[in-house]
């Protein structure tokens, strides 16, 4: 057992964990932040993407202890005072989600894509960059549109 401390969505948290606990388990089971999902066991699907110190990370592939001392943001940390983040709003406006299972990971990855590629990111780049996030419902058409629209509104 070991003690892990970090900030999650701006709040300090501390937990006693088995060494093998994954970050996604800490989030889902200990903190009950169930917006972060588990869709695979080979680090392929991206349903579990969160931000660790501002960088998108597959939380199924990181031990919780590796995030010790870090600032973690999950899907639950994006909306402020009941107002959706522009990227969340873009997904709603562009029907970028159906069953919603891949959605938290998609949104968290999208923010990282915008951060690295700017608000005018083109379709081909978005498609390339979303390679680590699988969606079975949407055919990606509207996810790509959402990411571009969200990027645009984030850019002002």
């Amino acid at each position: 057992m070991l003690t892990v401390k970090m900030s999650v969505n701006g709040k300090p948290v501390s937990a006693e964990l088995e060494d093998r606990t994954l970050l996604v388990q800490l989030l889902r089971e200990n903190l009950r932040l169930t917006g972060t999902h588990i869709g695979c066991d080979t680090s392929q699907c991206g349903a579990c993407v969160v931000h660790v110190n501002g960088v998108s990370v597959k939380s199924c592939t990181l031990l919780a202890v590796q995030a010790d001392g870090a600032e973690v943001t999950t899907i639950e940390g994006l909306a402020k005072n009941g107002v959706l983040h522009p990227m969340q709003q873009a997904f709603m406006d562009n029907h970028g989600l159906q069953c919603g299972f891949c959605t938290p990971g998609m949104v968290m990855s999208a923010l990282d894509i915008v951060k690295r590629n700017g608000s005018a990111v083109d379709e081909a780049t978005v498609r390339k960059e979303l390679e680590g996030n699988i969606c079975r419902c949407t055919g990606y058409h509207n996810i790509v549109k959402s990411v571009q629209a969200g990027a645009k509104s984030m850019g002002g």
Partner: protein
């Protein structure tokens, strides 16, 4: 049109909770005191179980209980069932081997359920499962669809000699034979329909809780049809009486068929929670999903078309071997029979069709419905064959289709394979698709690609499908064990807001929005005051669930019928209150008015009056709450033409989809934004089948594609954006004028993609998935 009513692309009500991480999927549910279940699965495809030793495992830390098939049998917990009977050519019903939820003496596929370990934590359950010792007597495995029923193969089930589940001929064999003998030309094709793993992104899960006080089991499940689960688990598996079993399908992360069926894990977890008197939770990891979700497709077929000198289709003959896996899944028998052979007419007026389906058992996971279910198999076969016919006759693929389409004036059109299409205009969809795809200028684009060393191809697929499943009487005649109506309850609360209870289940389709649009349109209540509730047997009266693109075409009509009843009752209440004759009351835009006057009463005021009936029509029941059941008159027949343009790199075999155009007939659209999303997703699923997805077992029955590293799912960079449009017709057999749209893309896409690749390469055929290796080999062969 009401604001946010029919035809508006209203933003979805369900999105907010998903976007802020507040969805409530089965694995998100935690019940105080819960235990965790892990299933011990067979590592062998085919083996006897000589013994199971659980002594060491039972003593492992945290273990609460370990159960095997004997424990289930001792409690009389029944085997899993298949709900549809197909009569074999010997006049006997299909062969149905016993399908125990936990193995009894024998395992028949890798992933088959041997025991369940229940422990305080998931990791303890996993650790303990490794300590269970099973002594297997390994037997040779049968995995090949084409040869499973051949002589000399290992027998899997005693009740199914030759590994044959059924041999099901349909049509007039001799008449077809005669036409073939005399025909000007016969074109033929051998093809497979590749096995797929459905792969909704949320893995299956179940959490069961037994209340010793009320003696009720509550089972939260990843289900597309909670009431069907409850019915089968009660009536056939003896889990609990129906009134003591509550099944809830909370938010479900995609289904596509895979979550229709009643699975072993669900039954076992439901039973075990009473046994250990603690909540029991199980969630599949992705490997388990690959091993134990019902798979889809897996056909090997020969198709032949007889034509006259003008390329007119005279007769079609189809011989298919369909793999049903090791056991029959809930609807396994129906998929390669009624949902397949009855679609073989396609959009064509082929007068004679004969098909023979041999369904076989193999040592692989059970096979059942997967997005499209039988119809993609029929469509792929037919639309590939039509292109071969075109090539053999020296006709353009467009021209041969035009010559054989059922003309618009022939509707309703009785096909030779049971289905009677109620509406369609196949030329209109084709014409529109050709424009959308710039078909006319393709040659120039092909030239240009050639100058870059690439090969362009264009392919089309004109599909029709039968969904909106289905008229109960038809289902009964065909051997189905259920009625396929749908139910709805529309309840006004005294304060005027509305709760709509539907027996369908939404797992991505956006029913909470679409159904609210129907109600706002019909009753004039503001969209924001309408809440759609589904997925809980304790809340909704009954329902058959969501599959076969039936929710709007069947469930939507039930809602509309309930609304009609409310309007009829409201007229009586308004007449009394407004002191007018009932016959003089009109209803529009949420108001009851006395014809020709300005006397009016809102539907909300009527509702209030119905709950506070101080002054009220004599003899009328209080309350403003109606339910309705709707049994469809016919299937729904969406159709359309999809056109795919690809560029093939002959040096690498890589295929790029340059443009994908789809023109579909879904009748009237309630929410065009949602419909487009369904089309996009369906096309991606179909492109996945065509280019990427292939489920493979090796000859020993090991699943060699059991993760996303080995099974290629379509990803964003495998696909283009899609160009879609509609060519609607009005289906007379549907009261709302709607057709299903959820599966069309998965049905239309595979042949469009493969026809394009075949066109690019100038070969006769290429099997799916057309991976770079397959395409490269084909490119080298010409």
């Amino acid at each position: 049109m009401a604001e946010n009513g029919v035809g508006a692309s209203v933003r979805r009500k369900e999105d907010n909770r998903f976007l802020i991480g507040k969805g409530n999927y089965t694995d998100d549910i935690t019940i105080a005191g819960q235990t965790h279940a892990v299933f011990l699965r067979s590592p062998h495809a085919h083996a006897t179980i000589n013994s199971i030793d659980t002594i060491a495992a039972s003593a492992a830390p945290g273990v609460v209980a370990i159960f095997t098939g004997d424990d289930l049998a001792a409690d009389g917990i029944g085997p899993l069932i298949c709900g549809v009977t197909v009569t074999s050519d010997d006049g006997q019903p299909h062969r149905a081997p016993v399908h125990p939820a936990l193995a009894q003496g024998k395992v028949n596929y890798v992933g088959d359920h041997v025991a369940v370990v229940i422990a305080e934590s998931l990791s303890q359950a996993k650790d303990a499962a490794e300590l269970v010792e099973v002594d297997y007597g390994v037997l040779p495995a049968v995995t090949n669809t084409a040869t499973a029923a051949d002589e000399g193969q290992t027998q899997i089930h005693e009740v199914a000699p030759g590994n044959l589940c059924f041999n099901w001929p349909f049509g007039d064999k001799a008449a077809v034979e005669e036409v073939f003998t005399a025909a000007h030309k016969v074109s033929s094709l051998e093809l497979i329909n590749n096995r797929m793993v459905t792969n909704p992104m949320e893995p299956r899960a179940a959490i069961a809780d037994y209340n010793a006080g009320t003696e009720e089991i509550t089972l939260h499940l990843t289900t597309q049809n909670p009431h069907v689960h409850r019915l089968v688990l009660s009536a056939f598996n003896q889990l609990a009486p129906e009134h003591k079993l509550r099944v809830v399908g909370p938010d479900v992360g995609g289904g596509f068929g895979a979550k229709i069926f009643i699975y072993a894990e669900e039954l076992v977890v439901g039973w075990a929670c009473r046994k250990v008197n603690r909540p029991v939770k199980w969630t599949a990891d992705r490997t388990e999903a690959f091993l134990s979700d019902a798979h889809g497709r897996d056909h090997v077929s020969t198709a032949e078309m007889a034509m006259d000198e003008n390329g007119k289709f005279l007769a079609l003959r189809v011989m298919t071997r369909a793999n049903l896996g090791a056991y029959l899944s809930t609807f396994g028998t129906m998929v390669p029979s009624y949902l397949y052979a009855f679609l073989l007419a396609g959009q064509y007026s082929t007068p004679l069709i004969y098909s023979e389906v041999k369904a076989v058992f193999t040592n692989t996971a059970p096979v059942d419905a997967s997005r499209g279910a039988g119809r993609p198999e029929a469509t792929f076969l037919l639309e590939r064959l039509v292109d071969v016919c075109a090539a053999d006759m020296g006709l353009d693929p467009v021209e041969i289709r035009r010559r054989n389409f059922i003309p618009v004036e022939a509707f309703p059109y009785q096909t030779p394979v049971v289905q009677c299409y109620d509406s369609g205009d196949y030329h209109a969809a084709l014409d529109k698709a050709l424009v959308l795809a710039n078909y006319g200028s393709f040659a120039a684009r092909a030239e240009e690609a050639k100058s870059r060393g690439k090969r362009r191809g264009i392919g089309l697929s004109s599909y029709v499908e039968a969904c909106g499943i289905a008229p109960s009487a038809a289902v009964g005649q065909l051997g189905g064990g259920v009625g396929l109506w749908e139910s709805a309850q529309v309840r006004f609360n005294p304060t005027g807001n509305v709760q709509v209870f539907t027996g369908t289940h939404s797992h991505g389709q956006g029913h909470e929005t679409t159904f609210a649009q129907l109600v706002t349109e019909q009753l004039g209540v503001p969209f924001g005051n309408i809440e759609v509730i589904h997925g809980d047997t304790a809340k909704t009266q009954f329902g058959m669930g969501t599959y076969g693109s039936r929710s709007l075409a069947v469930g939507g009509v039930a809602i509309s019928k309930a609304c009609e009843k409310l309007i009829a009752k409201g007229k009586k209440i308004a007449a009394h209150a407004l002191e007018a004759a009932e016959g003089d009351i009109e209803f529009a835009d949420g108001n009851f008015t006395v014809a020709g006057t300005d006397k009016a009463m809102s539907i909300e005021a009527v509702a209030f009056n119905a709950y506070v009936p101080h002054s009220y029509p004599e003899g009328l029941e209080p309350g403003f709450d109606e339910n309705a059941f709707f049994d469809p008159l016919n299937f729904s027949f969406p159709a359309g033409t999809h056109i795919c343009e690809v560029e093939v790199d002959p040096d690498t075999g890589e295929v790029e989809i340059i443009k994908y155009s789809a023109v579909d007939d879904f009748g009237k659209l309630i929410n065009p934004m949602i419909v487009a999303g369904q089309v996009h997703g369906g096309i991606a699923h179909g492109v996945g089948q065509a280019l990427l997805e292939g489920c493979r077992y090796d000859s020993e029955g090991q699943l060699i594609t059991a993760s996303y590293m080995d099974y290629a799912m379509p990803r964003a960079d495998n696909l283009p954006s899609f160009d879609i449009d509609y060519a609607p017709t009005d289906p007379p057999d549907n009261p709302l004028g709607v057709k299903g749209c959820g599966e069309a893309g998965a049905i239309g896409a595979p042949p469009a993609v493969i026809n394009a690749i075949v066109n690019a390469l100038g070969v006769k055929h290429i099997d799916m998935p057309a991976t770079p290796e397959t395409v490269w080999r084909a490119a080298q062969s010409v």
